[in-house]
């Protein structure tokens, strides 16, 4: 069922949702937010697109299969986890931080990349599940 209302609303909502998801991702660590929630919000944007414009169109927007995001995200999180072991001889998963905060984004550290990995995994997993269900339905 494709309605005009949903279609026109989604074209405004999807960019807002995506930007909001990045905002939530960056806001994490000290404040509520982080990779998991951010990833879910981003996944919702694509699901909304699939509802309003059809699954095939969403797949062309995504370009890569969402399943590919899972190993990619895991790899990013994994590298951020072992980076303290490799670079500064600290225990596994120790947070290492850049000295000067960057405008808009704020302080950058290995925790951000871990969250980025979680973000990608969550998008990948959520979209793979939803796409598989809607294909078989």
């Amino acid at each position: 069922m494709r309605t005009l209302i949903l279609k026109s609303a989604s074209s405004y909502l999807i960019p807002v949702l995506l930007i909001f998801s990045v905002f939530i991702l960056l806001r994490g660590h000290y404040l509520p937010g982080g990779g998991f929630v951010g990833g879910l919000v981003a996944a919702i944007a694509f699901v909304l697109d699939a509802f309003s414009n059809g699954l095939e169109k969403t797949k062309t927007i995504l370009k890569i299969h969402p399943g590919f995001l899972m190993p990619l995200g895991l790899l990013v999180a994994f590298l951020s986890g072992i980076s303290p072991m490799v670079f500064s001889d600290l225990p596994f998963m120790t947070g290492i931080w850049a000295e000067n905060p960057i405008p808009v984004i704020g302080a950058i550290g290995s925790a951000l990349f871990f969250d980025l990995g979680v973000y990608l995994v969550v998008i990948g997993a959520a979209l793979t599940i939803i796409f598989t269900i809607s294909e078989s339905a």
């Binding site: 790899l75 072991m85 001889d89």
Partner: protein, 502 residues
């Protein structure tokens, strides 16, 4: 890097699993990569073992948060030994998987999930935080659920549902126990709990949490009366998967029992009676179950249950001799149970069935192979000087010294019933003439395989048999190792001091 060495088994398996996910559709690449990866993991495990053996207990505070606040990984002798055994079993099973598991199953990320399972097992052995132990158990359950249901045959899904439901239930009880324990002592670090639990006034609540842990881990390690999920599920997946389940999944429950009941609830009197009763019942029910089965895989499954009882009973006695027996038995059991299921997979590939009534004539057709298969089967019984013999001496000695004659009797009964069943299996499968059977169509028999493919069946079994032979003939080394682990477990101050850096 040497500060973090004990975390390396986790890191390598996680890394290999991620790499395998990138090559999701390239099955042939995955096969080769997984075997190489498991070989590397084996080398890492040997390195970790030697390092811990020479330098004592190693502690890694992940995230550099000091214990008892952060999550610690503790590599004591027991953990390092189990990591090594996991790597040996993982290496053998990965080679066995390459040809024996059909392509349709491998396409769904079999090897990737297999590495996740090994990651979970290593994590469970190495962690020093009891909530983290719960998380590793969840990783183990999820990956084993994928492995058990991959392929989606009807009886497989039936087994998977039973397996998942019961194990999930066990995890819930484990979580409840954790909640009670955390409410009592306000910490999750096992070393810290061990110190603080002695000061708790409300002993009834301590005992309740102990019993909840016993039920939770008891379901996972398949002790009486909650073992019924194991015979219902373990025979359904391919033999390679059954092998890793049989060798390691129930043993991780036993490991958790050993860890919790030595470190946290060491020497609680009422528990030893409870554990001992359960052990005797487990040996009895497992043994009786094994005698009536006609399917080789099911016989081996009841042996898993039966022999879990040996270890639980030894844990209940809680003396140094008994604990050494338990550890030795654990070492022997992981290798031998993995091997038994690989053997049943090989026999299935040769004859197309594992039903003992339909099998026969293996000795006449494959004399050299039969000789190879005889070694693990006889080790299982414990014919001296093979590996099953030595831990039983320690266990029988300990039960005699502690004047626990019921457990003493159960040990004899368990060994005897193993002997009877293996003798029956030997005469049915190897000596009897081959009865007429209808060979299933579209089935590639062992004789039709190329020489390299045959190698992937024989080599893992020969490799594990070699390890078993080493455990049997090099029993002196294993006994020394077991005694060292046992004394570390009984005198847990060493562990606590290492973790809390006192």
């Amino acid at each position: 890097m040497t500060n973090d060495i004990i975390i390396l088994p986790l890191v390598v398996h996680l890394f290999f699993s991620i790499v395998l996910m990138f090559f999701w559709n390239k099955v042939d690449f995955q096969k080769i990569f997984s075997v190489v990866a498991n070989f590397i993991a084996l080398l890492v495990a040997i390195w970790v073992f030697i390092f811990v053996y020479n330098n004592g207990t190693q502690v890694v505070q992940s995230g550099n948060w000091e214990a008892p606040f952060g999550i610690v990984f503790v590599g004591d002798m027991l953990a390092a030994t189990l990591v090594l055994l996991t790597a040996i079993a993982g290496f053998a099973v990965s080679i066995f998987s390459t040809i024996s598991v059909i392509r349709a199953r491998l396409r769904f990320g079999y090897f990737s999930v297999f590495h996740f399972l090994l990651l979970g097992l290593n994590g469970a052995f190495l962690t020093g935080d009891i909530f983290n132990l719960y998380v590793w158990f969840e990783i183990i359950i999820i990956s084993s659920f994928v492995l058990i249901s991959i392929g989606g045959e009807k009886n497989q899904l039936e087994g998977a549902v039973k397996y998942f439901a019961l194990n999930f239930f066990a995890s819930m009880i484990f979580l409840t126990a954790l909640g009670v324990l955390y409410g009592l002592v306000g910490t999750l670090n096992m070393a810290d709990i061990s110190l603080k639990i002695a000061e708790v006034q409300n002993r009834n609540l301590v005992e309740i949490s102990a019993v909840l842990f016993l039920v939770g881990f008891g379901i996972k390690s398949a002790i009486f009366p909650l073992y019924f999920w194991l015979p219902a599920s373990y025979h359904t997946p391919p033999s390679a998967v059954s092998a890793i389940f049989a060798g390691l999944l129930t043993k991780v429950g036993v490991y958790a029992l050993i860890r919790v009941f030595t470190l946290i609830y060491g020497g609680e009197g009422f528990l030893s009676i409870l554990l001992l009763t359960l052990a005797i019942m487990t040996i009895f029910s497992g043994g009786v179950g094994a005698i009536i089965q006609n399917n080789m895989k099911k016989v081996f499954m009841y042996f898993i249950i039966c022999h879990i009882g040996f270890m639980i009973g030894g844990l209940a006695l809680f003396t140094e001799v008994a604990m050494a027996g338990v550890i030795f038995y654990l070492i022997h059991d992981i290798i031998i149970k993995t091997n038994l299921f690989l053997i049943s997979g090989l026999i299935y590939r040769i004859k197309g069935t594992t039903n003992m009534k339909k099998l026969g004539g293996l000795y006449a057709n494959y004399p050299k192979l039969s000789l190879l298969l005889a070694i693990p089967l006889f080790s299982l019984i414990g014919i001296p000087p093979l590996s099953g013999y030595w831990p039983k001496i320690s266990l029988i000695l300990a039960s005699f010294n502690a004047e626990e004659y019921w457990f003493f009797g159960a040990l004899i009964f368990g060994s005897l019933i193993t002997l009877i069943v293996i003798a029956k299996l030997w005469s049915e499968v190897f000596w009897k003439d081959q009865p007429k059977i209808n060979f299933p169509e579209k089935f590639i028999y062992f004789d039709q395989l190329r020489i390299g493919q045959k190698f992937t069946f024989i080599f893992p079994i020969a490799f594990l048999t070699f390890v078993t032979l080493y455990i049997g003939f090099g029993a002196e080394h294993i006994q020394q190792l077991s005694q060292r682990i046992a004394s570390e477990l009984i005198n847990n101050e060493l562990y606590i001091d290492a973790v809390l850096k006192r």
